[in-house]
Symmetry: C2
Subunit: 265 residues, 2 copies
Amino acid sequence: MKNPGRVFLVGAGPGDPDLLTVKAVRILNQADVVVYDRLVSTEIRKLIPETTRLIPVGKAPNCHPVPQHEINRILIHEALQGHTVARLKGGDPFVFGRGAEEALDLACAGLSVEVVPGISAAQGCSATTGVPLTHRGLASGVRFVTGHSREGRPLELDWDGLADPDTTLVIYMGTTNIKNISAQLIASGLSRRTPVLAINNGTTPSERRLKTDLNSIAENLDREQFSGPVLFIIGRVVNLLGSLNDHRRRTPFVQPSTPQVDIYV
Amino acid sequence: MKNPGRVFLVGAGPGDPDLLTVKAVRILNQADVVVYDRLVSTEIRKLIPETTRLIPVGKAPNCHPVPQHEINRILIHEALQGHTVARLKGGDPFVFGRGAEEALDLACAGLSVEVVPGISAAQGCSATTGVPLTHRGLASGVRFVTGHSREGRPLELDWDGLADPDTTLVIYMGTTNIKNISAQLIASGLSRRTPVLAINNGTTPSERRLKTDLNSIAENLDREQFSGPVLFIIGRVVNLLGSLNDHRRRTPFVQPSTPQVDIYV
């Protein structure tokens, strides 16, 4: 019997191939087989050598072409053949990636797993939009939440805890439930005027942005008809949009540590 | 007058040079001058060409050799000389990096700033320890908080909101205040037995780990006498420590989606 191959759970980052880590690129170049998600961009797949076998196991919302247990089975099967397997996942495998479920199944099968972190969508979108996730006087911390609920079930979140004006709230996979999410946050005490930035296809050439507030996000998002993933950044930091990128407009300007800032985008 | 140079705020990641992004490496190779923090590892500095000018502006807790306004002045001065400036910061510049303060000052001076995200310490430590930041049935989200308060001031956090057993809590820069933090979380309703993982020098060859619980973290940390940065991961996911990395121990094993798991590390 062959020695089993190693499995790497690799974060592909938010879409821009430049945001892959050095380690991720090296593993993609050395792997015998790459098992990849729908969220892994075409540009990133182009970095993989042509001789490498590619197995797509893409997931779309409410549509799972390859069930999780089948993905796990593929990974185990390939590793047991002695292949070096790269399991390439959008973002970071340990932030909403279900990476730990795959890793646990692999470990159960006696296989060695190594995790390579990736830039998460929140970080990628923060960098391209110039909206920091934390900022003195505006946000003392940041919170990543999934807005996706399991099939048909209501979204159960700690709304009171989430409605903290001093924390930046980032919602992943929230498009379907954004009306409910914004209503619950307002009902729990966040101001209707809390700024919201929705970023579609963040860090890719097709990145689009919508700046609005909690009160109007659901209605405005309907109008935009974004296709592809949308990330929501909610909180005062959103008011910094435009402050970093457009240096021609000098005033009015934001003073660091000022709780309220003017918007001039 | 020369055309001003570009400034890049570059995330250096958690320490391991392999976790730099491709973009960060390219910018470090092209920059005329690199202005770097104390948290940027020696291994990463070694990647910078010998001909590149290096300016250290390291900050240690309660000891700021170069004040923030002076750092900003250096960046502006260098860029106005026409130099391409890489401002290299530990982790991600927009997660507790004060990156936005620097970027705003640069934008105020009419300079162009580009932000390159980095792997944050939470992600790096999550990958090396095999403790995911989110996991079905254990943590529906993750929250990054700073445990550092401004000089002499008490730590003002939304303790009730933080005491959510369904969210993984990651504390950056919390060593000094960990006794207060753990006491407040317990007082706000988190179980004393909530598992805590303290990671010292995460992702570097000198990484050390301490697994304990909220009740004992302050006392146990005192005993360890860690030097260098410490990150705290608090929540049920910490019980997965050891499950992924040591594949020789097959049972007892964690069932995905099981709220309580056995520890066998």
